[in-house]
Amino acid sequence: MPQSTAAEVPLIALDGVGKWYGAYHALKNISLRVRKGEKIVLCGPSGSGKSTLIRCINHLEDIQEGKITVEGTTLTDSGHAIDAVRREVGMVFQSFNLFPHKTIMENCTLAPMRVKGLSKPESEEIARKYLARVRILDQADKYPAQLSGGQQQRAAIARALCMEPKAMLFDEPTSALDPEMVKEVLDTMIGLARDGMTMICVTHEMGFARQVADRVVFMASGEVIEEGPPETFFQAPRHERTRAFLGEILAHH
């Protein structure tokens, strides 16, 4: 574990973040610091704001209060800051969101070509590297609909990696998958974690949290209720709501 970097400036920092949807207070005074190489698992009941939170980090949602800084860039409404942040942060969605009219290879090369201005051969070389890493290089010329759910999600991970981001956001990456495909996606994520990627994962996979997370953050009703390393989080949760949540979720696993 890269503990030596602990004293450095965090890669992602949230300070007193607040968000409203009209009158609904979705995020309440959230502060979170993520060091380079750190793996955070965000969990909590549905509607607790965990997905909203990570969607704020790459400005898919805007915030009304507080401040979000990624790699020294503070997110504002300026297109420049948003571009800079999105360049550093990759995202994987629950429903994959692959582009259905493009092959897996084209899905992977689009952003490197359009955003970074790389040539086609250059971006294809990068794509082959990451498609091999998620073990679907042999599917590169197929369209997303020809792949299984697990393969599609791994393709989506490869697509995000092709931008060579410093951090990855995972928004319930296995929730839309058939049970037999969850493992292949989790294994891919574990591999990524081993290679030192900074990750924030919204997930209900507590086995994954135990194995990979440096910290588990529990949210409910738009607030961070408690956070800690997985050992203490699972063995000795301090809050009643955490205990209730863990009781429910672990009963199913």
Partner: protein, 216 residues
């Protein structure tokens, strides 16, 4: 009774030429401005959306015949001396862009929101998001309605006769009056329209099938 000879057929062919020219104007002008209308209709700016909504409401809510009149005589009224041909071209472009704009607006909005989000998360800008991700999918969704409208537009060009254009229908009427053979003449005219519209419908159906299998 006069018979339908080479002269009459040549006259009809002249009419057909104008019909094709008007159709081309409607397709190209309507396509370009329709795309702008569709993008403005789905823009983030509320003002842009409101203006284009009004534009579409006006052109969908009034007959094409009236639009031709208004542009043809209206342009003259404000003191601009333009060719009748240009006036009709403007009217067809306005008409087609309102309808195509609304059809494509529907297509754009039918593309799942996750597609735009994935494009944004990858750092793509508006132009690339639209050109590479949203519009190809929106085009596929709107293809049947688009072809349907274009076929209507081809037949709608006959209305240009009202401002003095001798296009295919008007040419047919003239020939019919001279030869007293309305059935034969209008059978020929009808066949000409059919031979323009039918391949377009076929092409639409084939493209639709091709796009469908590509993503399946």
């Amino acid at each position: 009774m006069a018979s339908i000879g080479p002269n009459e057929l040549f006259f009809l062919a002249q009419g057909l030429k104008w019909t094709l020219a008007l159709t081309l104007i409607g397709f190209v002008g309507g396509g370009i401005f329709g795309l702008i209308v569709a993008l403005a209709r789905t823009a983030e700016s509320a003002a842009l959306r409101r203006v284009t909504t009004g534009y579409i409401a006006v052109f969908q809510g009034t007959p094409l015949l009236m639009q031709l009149f208004v542009v043809y005589y209206g342009v003259a009224l404000i003191g601009l001396n333009i060719d009748a041909w240009l006036a009709v071209a403007i009217a067809f472009t306005l008409h087609a862009s309102a309808f195509l704009g609304e059809i494509w607006r529907g297509g754009i909005q039918a593309v799942p929101k996750g597609q735009t989000e994935a494009a944004k998360a990858l750092g793509l800008h508006y132009v690339s998001t639209m050109k590479d991700v949203v519009l190809p999918q929106a085009f596929k969704i709107s293809l049947p309605a688009t072809i349907g409208f274009l076929v209507q537009l081809i037949k709608g060009t006959s209305l240009a006769a009202i401002v003095g254009f001798v296009e295919l229908s008007r040419a047919g009427q003239i020939v019919s009056n001279q030869t007293f053979r309305p059935l034969t003449v209008f059978a020929i005219v009808g066949l000409a329209y059919f031979l323009i519209c039918w391949p377009l419908s076929l092409w639409g159906a084939r493209t639709e099938r091709r796009l469908q299998t590509a993503t399946r």
